[in-house]
């Protein structure tokens, strides 16, 4: 059975927010839209985003790491947001594992957002329905789009290609291989939600310098040494005083 998901490579994410606004611009005008903005030009503006980037500092100066962490619905295999829904609006699609909300059934009671341990659901105060990442389900099957564009908007946008998309149940899919080989991990697996989205950790490239690498046979300074033969010296030498 298919389980579509994202793999997010924290090793290359620079925190640019391209995924955040690309998601919003695609989805606000699509079937999952619109995505409201309150106080769009006023105090404390706040709007609906299916995807947000958080930034963390780890460690103390000077060994500080700055980590950008994009977060959206993880499309759990066992999503706690589904069974709590009193109307059946919150559901997981059988065919591809995407977790969606049927706006026609949703009463905006927010049980699902309380149940979600990842805080990735977004209430629309104006439509009074719960909204969330759809993995751009309206793009990925759209045959009017070129095949290489049938991907979530965030994946298409990402300048560092930190966002990979595919089927985590197919062991041969590129993202399954990446998860396996690059140390992909889930968020808070202890909750038992089996998140489908995975993250790839930071990886460091270091250089090891051996002492002998600083010695070079062709050290150009050698060319600056005086070369060739010199004329005989005028000053006294051993030749003047000894016959051996």
């Amino acid at each position: 059975m298919t389980q579509l998901a994202l793999v997010i490579d924290l090793n290359v994410c620079v925190g640019c927010h391209a995924c955040v606004t690309s998601c919003k611009e695609w989805n606000t005008s699509g079937p999952a839209g619109s995505m409201c903005d309150d106080n769009p030009y006023g105090q404390d503006p706040t709007g609906t985003f299916f995807n947000r980037v958080q930034t963390y500092e780890i460690g103390e100066f000077p060994t500080t790491e700055t980590l950008h962490f994009p977060k959206s619905c993880l499309h759990c295999e066992d999503p706690p947001c589904v069974p709590v829904c009193p109307t059946g609006a919150s559901y997981k699609r059988e065919e591809d594992g995407i977790v969606l909300v049927d706006y026609d059934k949703c009463i905006g009671c927010r049980y699902c957002s309380w149940a979600c341990p990842y805080g990735v659901r977004e209430i629309d105060e104006h439509m009074k329905v719960m909204k969330k990442c759809t993995l751009c389900v309206d793009r990925i099957y759209d045959e009017s789009l070129p095949a290489n564009e049938r991907k979530p908007a965030c994946v298409l946008a990402c300048p560092t290609s930190a966002r990979l998309f595919g089927d985590v149940h197919d062991p041969e899919s590129p993202i399954s291989i990446t998860i396996r080989e690059e140390g992909g991990y889930q968020l808070m697996p202890e909750w038992g939600t089996k998140p489908s989205n995975h993250y790839l950790p930071r990886r460091k490239t270091r250089m090891h310098i051996h002492e002998d690498e600083l010695q070079r046979a062709d050290n150009p300074l050698k060319k600056e040494q005086r070369s060739g033969t010199s004329a005989p010296v005028d000053a006294p030498t051993l030749d003047d005083s000894t016959s051996w």
Binding site: D9, V12, V14, C16, H17, A18, V20, T21, S22, K24, E25, W26, S29, G30, P31, A32, G33, S34, C36, D37, D38, N39, P40, Y41, G42, Q43, D44, P45, T46, G47, T55, E57, F61, P62, T66, D102, Y103, D104, H126, V137, D138, D142, E149, L156, A157, P159, S161, T205, R206, M207, I209, E213, L214, R216, N219, P220, L221, K222, K223, S227
Partner: protein
């Protein structure tokens, strides 16, 4: 509001898809815009575009909210007669009237004293047209924003290697193994850098970021090396010291492709002291950099003509010529210079441990040597020698405003360019690569007039408004050595100010130093806010009056698409279009989007009609050029030559019949030529059919070593990219700089600096890079102001144009002052608490945020997130004005009075680059009971006529939004 039954079913509507070029920042990515019922539904990266290959950034994807911003200006506006400047009281007028006002004014000024008209533009990617307009008008007072952005990067590199970062060159991360990023935050540039960085890391490259702050790109660095601001030059020089000491330099590259082995006269008594020893070979008058220098032959122990086949020159030593003159190779002089800059010394300046500096040098040197690349690409050098391969030493660098925006930035960047050179990385795989039309001669050929005779009524300027001085006689000064430009560019105060000094225009014009002007036309630059230093005072100057009650700057015209802070100070506002509503060119005559492997230029083509009565600024210039009968815009009878801007782009030629125009692609009657060819009436269509881009891939053998690649140089000359086809040898030792120093020492016949500037010129025009503390620091009491304060730009607000954007402002609604906890705690400032930052020029109250990702002697904030109350059509209580702030209030546009003068710009003394990051500050806790708002505050700016009302909430849904869907 649509209600969704089917999560897959697209909403109904008429769909159109059009290609154009983004302008949410200055990177110029290709975009594909989907419209639904005529409204923008989706902006994606164009997958077929060479620059961004389908990706897009946070800003690019938020273009919809720029297009439909309520802050859009839609009518020409005239300041109400009774209203004061700055009060933002305007009345709507028609374009005809606006043109009439400008025509009358500008015509009179052109007939009497054309320098009384000044045109300064925020963006510098439209200079092909704006520069042409200024030149044709005959005013020397023109520049774009480069002087307060990164002119040190351009000049420091171009005066050394003939090319520079960003538009004209960059790091080859496809083949590099080690990448050093220094003084780059999250911008310059955007998507191409992000794409390259991730690819580089995935290929196993090692990425080291040197920066006082760790955010953005630095976050994913394998190693972060925190450094004190303004000390980058000390680090570079120390690394050079180590590389020379250990022999980890590329001798072959240095001898053949630079002036490292060329002998410099070191005889203080001789007339040519400090200049290159020259042979008496006859000079080719058509040559910009004659090959008449001398080497010291290592085997024969005598002077020989440079680059004599088979000769091994000496790089080190002192030699006596046959005539008794003493001389040393440039490289010996570099070694002597850097001898003093050992890592222990650099540690004391930069705060980077000496062992780290040594290791950085070794990593660079060893990677360059042991990871050498040999590409099987045959090429011929400029001296006719054939090579079987292209060599690369895969160490790449990138740097931007962090190194540039200091008053010691030029010499810092000279040092960096020399570091890149001694590693042997210039225009080689894995190192630095040029982008057409670079490399160019050192310095490039364009020159300003060099006397007041270049400025005459009713006559085009007798030279370019901006240029590249090669010696003191190229300076644009009057017979007494005084500045001719209002910004004092190309004068003895800032001889190499290749991009002008826009940051001093208002202050100088206000003071009448060197003279007063009449009309100031500002395009797309927020000089009453984040683009000016000393913002508060500059705002006062903009509405200051003389004793007769007349404004000191009599007339100000502002062209902008939005209700910026600057519009409040206009007498006349010209509403510009957005990028989605206009034709534009990214021209080879300006800053095209070339790739490493060949020239690329591109266009914008409107995807939606202009809103209201807004008009592209280019159309304004074409109209004004025609009305004023500027020669380039009218025929012999004085009749208008070009219908509109698109017509101009197709048919304008730099000279009649030159075949060179704004666009390089599809020239010739049928579009069969490129770079040079007759105008093609279908040129726009051909761009439209080709993703709005023209791309040419050079043959592989022309793609590298272009400074010295005969094939490339001949190709460039044939296609009129360059007048010369001669080698462009790298200036380790800069004779250009030495000529200015000699003038300052009174040792030359030509132009001489005024007495009070002699010492400044002599000190800073050092032919070899050196470290000096930034000027502002030298003039500050550092015990009182112990900290450095700097800004960065966040990726989602790169280029700071987007607080009017409902989506982007949710990412950056206001800015904190970032302070290291130890520094903040010493001052008793809490995390999240209100604090003051104060320099000797001013103070700001702001919110503090603790951070460990910061060199503790530095504080920093995001640039230009803070806005003035009411500007950009934000509510008066918007966070941008109530919690956000500008660091600009702490930074002066002029240095405290010192021996170089009372009113000298706070800039690099060579180039006029604004010293944004030189300011020194102290911090303290805001008192209990103080107002919890940022300081300073300004009167609220009322909504301008023609802007829209804002709503408490909105829900964008393409096709319904502008028809009441909000």
């Amino acid at each position: 509001m649509p209600v969704v039954h089917n999560p897959i079913q697209p909403p109904e509507g008429r769909i159109e898809v059009k290609n154009t070029t983004c302008y949410m920042c200055a990177c110029r990515c290709g975009i594909r815009v989907t419209l639904r019922d005529g409204e923008v539904r989706y902006i994606q990266g164009n997958p077929d575009h060479p620059l961004n290959k389908g990706v897009i950034c946070a800003k690019g994807a938020s273009g919809i909210m720029k297009q439909y911003s309520p802050a859009r200006l839609t009518k020409p506006l005239r300041r109400k007669q009774e209203a004061l400047r700055g009060d933002a009281q305007f009345e709507e007028i028609e374009w005809d009237e606006a043109f009439g006002i400008m025509e009358e004014r500008l015509k009179h000024l052109r007939e009497t004293d054309p320098k009384k008209f000044a045109l300064f533009t925020g963006r510098d990617q439209m200079q092909a047209l704006t520069g042409l307009f200024a030149k044709q008008y005959g005013t020397p007072n023109y520049a774009a924003h480069g002087g307060f952005c990164s002119v040190n990067m351009a000049t420091g590199m171009i005066y050394t290697i003939g090319g520079s970062f960003w538009e004209f060159g960059g790091p080859d991360l496809e083949r590099a193994k080690l990448f050093i990023m220094i003084g780059t935050a999250e911008d310059h540039h955007s998507n191409p850098m992000k794409m390259a960085l991730s690819q580089f890391k995935r290929n196993g490259g090692r990425f080291i970021s040197i920066n006082p702050v760790r955010t953005g790109y630095s976050a994913i660095a394998d190693e972060w090396v925190p450094i004190k601001p303004g000390t980058d030059g000390a680090l570079m020089l120390s690394i050079i010291h180590e590389l020379i000491r250990t022999g980890l330099f590329d001798r072959e590259f240095l001898t053949q492709y630079t002036n490292a082995a060329e002998l410099v006269s070191t005889d203080e008594q001789s007339d040519d002291f400090g200049l290159f020893i020259r042979t008496d070979i006859p000079l080719d008058p058509h040559c910009f950099d004659p090959q008449d220098r001398v080497w010291w032959d290592r085997d024969e122990d005598k002077a020989v003509h440079s680059r004599t086949e088979g000769v091994e020159p000496r790089l080190l030593g002192e030699f006596t010529l046959a005539d008794g003159r003493k001389a040393k190779p440039s490289f010996q002089l570099l070694k002597e210079r850097t001898d003093q800059y050992n890592p222990e010394w650099a540690e004391s300046v930069t705060g980077i441990p000496a062992d780290t500096i040594r290791r950085l040098a070794y990593e660079m040197g060893i990677t360059a040597r042991d990871e050498k690349i040999e590409l099987p690409i045959a090429w011929t050098d400029a001296w006719g020698k054939d090579h079987e391969t292209i060599t690369g030493n895969p160490v790449a660098f990138h740097s931007m405003r962090g190194t540039a925006a200091h008053s010691n930035g030029f010499q810092t960047i000279r040092a960096m360019s020399i570091l890149m050179t001694i590693l042997g990385t210039i225009d080689r795989p894995g190192g630095f690569r040029h982008k057409a039309p670079f490399p160019r001669p050192i310095p490039p050929c364009a020159k300003t007039p060099n006397s007041i005779h270049g400025v005459k009524p009713n006559t085009p300027l007798g030279g370019m408004p901006l240029g590249w001085p090669a010696d003191p006689n190229d300076l644009f000064v009057d017979d007494d050595g005084n500045p001719i430009r209002i910004d004092k560019g190309f004068s003895w105060e800032f001889p190499l100010s290749a991009h002008g000094l826009m940051h001093n225009v208002i202050t100088n014009a206000w003071r009448g130093d060197p003279y007063t002007i009449d009309t100031l036309l500002i395009f797309m630059a927020n000089m009453a806010w984040n683009s000016s230093m000393n913002t508060d005072e500059v705002r006062k100057m903009l509405n200051d009056k003389d004793d007769n009650g007349e404004y000191k700057i009599p007339y100000i015209i502002v062209a902008d698409a939005f209700q910026s802070e600057m519009t409040a100070y206009a007498d006349l506002i010209l509403p510009d279009t957005t990028y989605l509503e206009r034709h534009d060119v990214m021209s080879m005559l300006d800053r095209p989007i070339s790739e490493y492997d060949g020239p690329v230029d591109s266009v914008r083509i409107p995807v939606v009609p202009p809103k209201g009565d807004c008009k592209p600024f280019q159309e304004v210039l074409i109209e004004m050029g025609s009305r004023l009968k500027l020669p380039a815009f009218v025929d012999k009878e004085g009749k208008r030559k070009f219908r509109d801007y698109p017509d101009f782009v197709v048919n304008y030629e730099t000279e009649p019949g030159s075949g060179i125009g704004f666009l390089a692609g599809w020239r010739g009657k049928g579009g069969e030529k490129f770079m040079k060819g007759e105008p093609n009436p279908n040129q726009w269509k051909m761009y439209e059919e080709n993703n709005c881009v023209y791309q040419y891939h050079l043959p592989k053998s022309y793609q590298y070593m272009r400074n010295w690649n005969r094939g490339y140089l001949n190709w460039a000359q044939e296609h009129r990219l360059m007048r010369f086809a001669e080698p462009i040898n790298i200036h380790i030792y800069s004779e250009v700089l030495m000529k200015f120093r000699l003038a300052a020492q009174g040792k030359t016949e030509g132009k001489q600096p005024p007495a009070h500037l002699r010492k400044r010129i002599e000190t800073h025009f050092d032919p070899l890079p050196f470290y000096s503390e930034p000027l502002e620091s030298q003039l500050t009491d550092k015990h009182k102001y112990p900290l450095n304060a700097i800004t960065q730009r966040p990726m989602a607000m790169y280029h700071s144009w987007d607080s009017q954007n409902a989506w982007l402002r949710q990412i950056h609604t206001y800015n904190y002052m970032y302070v290291h906890p130890s520094t903040a705690q010493k001052a008793g400032i809490e995390d999240g608490g209100w604090m003051w930052a104060e320099s000797m020029h001013g103070k700001v109250r702001c919110l503090c945020r603790y951070t460990e990702a910061l060199e503790p002697g530095t504080i920093w904030t995001w640039n230009a997130i803070g806005k003035s109350k009411g500007a950009w059509r934000l509510d008066d209580d918007a966070n941008e004005s109530q919690k956000g702030f500008l660091l600009n209030h702490l930074i002066s546009e002029e240095l405290p009075a010192h021996e170089a003068g009372e009113h000298v710009s706070n800039s690099d003394p060579l180039t006029g680059q604004a010293g944004w990051y030189d300011v020194r500050v102290r911090i303290y806790k805001a008192e209990e009971g103080e107002e919890n708002v940022s300081y300073p505050q300004f009167n609220a700016m009322p909504a301008l006529p023609g802007t829209e009302k804002t709503n408490k909430w909105q829900a964008f849904f393409a096709g319904l939004f502008t028809r009441g869907g909000k």
